[in-house]
């Protein structure tokens, strides 16, 4: 899921400036799980904004804020509030904020910082394991991604900063290369470690990415 974290309240107020009437949008998917933009957080934010002298005209938690047609539908339903508000504050990922952008011409403010695509370790504990590179190489590395989990994205083995199995950059994180080495040994595929890997094709997906999965002609579908 997409891991996001609420911005400090002062930053949100600063972004609003003199604008008084606000409309809050949360997300029923990832931001609910991460407690950065679910029902509870939106209600809490409404209270805090009102205490700061703002008027909250509307608050919605969309099923999935990244769904652009959904956002348009929600704003059609609460047409008056959406029309009257000075600004929308969105508590989802940056994709969700830009869905709101598509649905209104008003000032749209992100209420969160979008951090990474995360695995859930335990409730409210997340780790980044995939960086959406567009060309999955996991099988080369015992399904432990060095592009993401090695701080330098090295593809051919540990750097000199590996430190008793931990990463020099952040001693709380394991060295991905020690994990990969151990895993390939377990699989009896250590020879795989010796394969010289070329650099990534960083343009495997041309950014910004686009995919029309309805178009079954692959060439035309992904561009």
């Amino acid at each position: 899921m997409i891991i996001s974290q609420q911005k400090p309240f002062e930053e949100i107020l600063e972004a609003l400036g003199d604008q008084e009437k606000v409309y809050l949008v949360g997300c029923g998917e990832c931001a609910t799980m991460t407690e950065s933009g679910g029902e509870n957080e939106i209600v809490d934010m409404k209270t805090r904004l009102e205490a700061a002298g703002k008027t909250v005209l509307g608050n919605d938690v969309a099923h999935a804020t990244c769904h652009e047609l959904d956002m348009k539908r929600i704003f059609r339903q609460s047409k008056d509030a959406a029309k009257e508000t000075d600004a929308f504050i969105v508590f989802s990922c940056g994709a969700g904020t830009q869905s709101v952008r598509e649905a209104t011409d008003k000032h749209v403010i992100p209420g969160t910082n979008t951090l990474f695509l995360g695995n859930v370790k335990r409730n409210l504990q997340y780790e980044e394991k995939c960086s959406l590179c567009g060309e999955c190489v996991l099988d080369e590395y015992g399904s432990i991604c060095p592009v993401t989990r090695c701080a330098k994205g090295i593809l051919n083995g540990p750097c000199g900063g590996t430190n008793n199995g931990q990463c020099e950059v952040d001693p709380d994180k394991p060295c991905a290369w020690v994990l990969i080495h151990n895993q390939l040994k377990k699989e009896d595929r250590i020879e795989q470690f010796m394969k010289i890997q070329g650099p990534k094709r960083w343009n495997a997906v041309e950014r910004p990415g686009r995919l029309d999965a309805r178009d079954k002609d692959e060439e035309k579908g992904a561009a």
Partner: protein, 298 residues
């Protein structure tokens, strides 16, 4: 061919020093160190934004060394440049007369002084080695023919005290396969451990023309030794050296460190443990001539 390569390939016990360019344009000390060392050693490494801290450029200083009659080992990290910039700099370095390149991935920006910079790592060390080899053979990374190939002596690093060692050894072997012709190791202090590592390394390099130079960082205080043990991954100063450093008054610590360094050089040379040494005095290069004298190298 530069004199560093000539010396290495002739079978001589090669000696290199290291120049860390300053942060800024005040180059007097650096020029003095280059003057002092250039004829005394076979080559001088020039660091590339060492520890991810912004410095005067490695290529410019390497060129200066070559232009005053020394030989430069141009250090190149993949942290700050993508593949276009790396290959561009390689051709430029070659144009400027630089003939040795040490291929490094480079310290992460988070340990340096521009922590918010975007690190590049389009290539890493193994791929940079491959790229230099390709350019030596006349083509760029993309397979396009070059109008004139480069002629670099390709260097790499290895950390003999890395923990765990197995993945490090595997990477060392990959660097050789990729085209590395010489290695300078991370600092080593435990000569027994290093001899064990070299026994393994000699096995790997048997039949191949690959030279291995021991990296020696001169100890200047017992505090420095303890600091490295605690904070520098892959560097291990054994207890007997800590005791030796602590056995002398503070003001004699550098001298003791020089003695230890010279003793290690002698041992490595006499026992034919490795093919040379890379002596790092980290900003105190004026002490290097005396170390080389103590080691009977000059």
């Amino acid at each position: 061919m530069g004199k560093y390569r000539e010396a290495a390939e002739s079978g001589k016990f090669v000696v290199s020093g290291e120049i860390g360019p300053p942060k800024g344009t005040q180059v007097d000390d650096m020029l003095h160190h280059i003057d002092l060392l250039k004829d005394m050693v076979d080559g001088l490494n020039v660091t590339d934004n060492q520890s991810a801290v912004l410095r005067l450029g490695s290529m410019a200083v390497s060129h200066h060394i070559v232009s005053v009659g020394g030989d430069a080992i141009f250090q190149m990290t993949t942290r700050d440049r993508n593949r276009l910039a790396l290959q561009n700099d390689l051709m430029s370095a070659h144009f400027l007369g630089i003939r040795n390149v040490l291929c490094l991935t480079g310290d992460h920006v988070s340990v340096g002084d521009h922590k918010d910079a975007r690190e590049v790592y389009d290539f890493e060390s193994v791929q940079l080695i491959q790229a230099v080899k390709k350019m030596n053979e006349g083509s760029d990374w993309a397979g396009n023919e070059l109008q004139g190939s480069t002629d670099f002596y390709i260097g790499a690093v290895v950390t003999p005290e890395s923990n765990p060692i197995e993945p490090q050894k595997a990477k060392f072997e990959k660097k050789i396969e990729a085209g590395a012709q010489f290695f300078q190791t991370q600092a080593v202090y435990d000569m027994d451990n290093f001899q064990n590592f070299m026994e393994y390394a000699r096995g790997v390099t048997e039949g191949k023309d690959v030279k291995i130079m021991a990296g020696l960082v001169v100890l200047t205080s017992v505090g420095m030794a303890k600091y490295m043990n605690k904070f520098v991954p892959g560097v291990f100063v054994p207890d007997n050296l800590l005791e030796e450093m602590a056995s002398v008054p503070k003001e004699e610590a550098t001298k003791k460190g020089m003695e230890i360094c010279a003793r290690h050089i002698k041992l490595l040379k006499e026992k034919n443990v490795c093919d040379g040494v890379h002596v790092m005095a980290i900003g105190k290069e004026e002490i290097v001539p005396e170390i080389l004298q103590l080691a009977d190298l000059i």
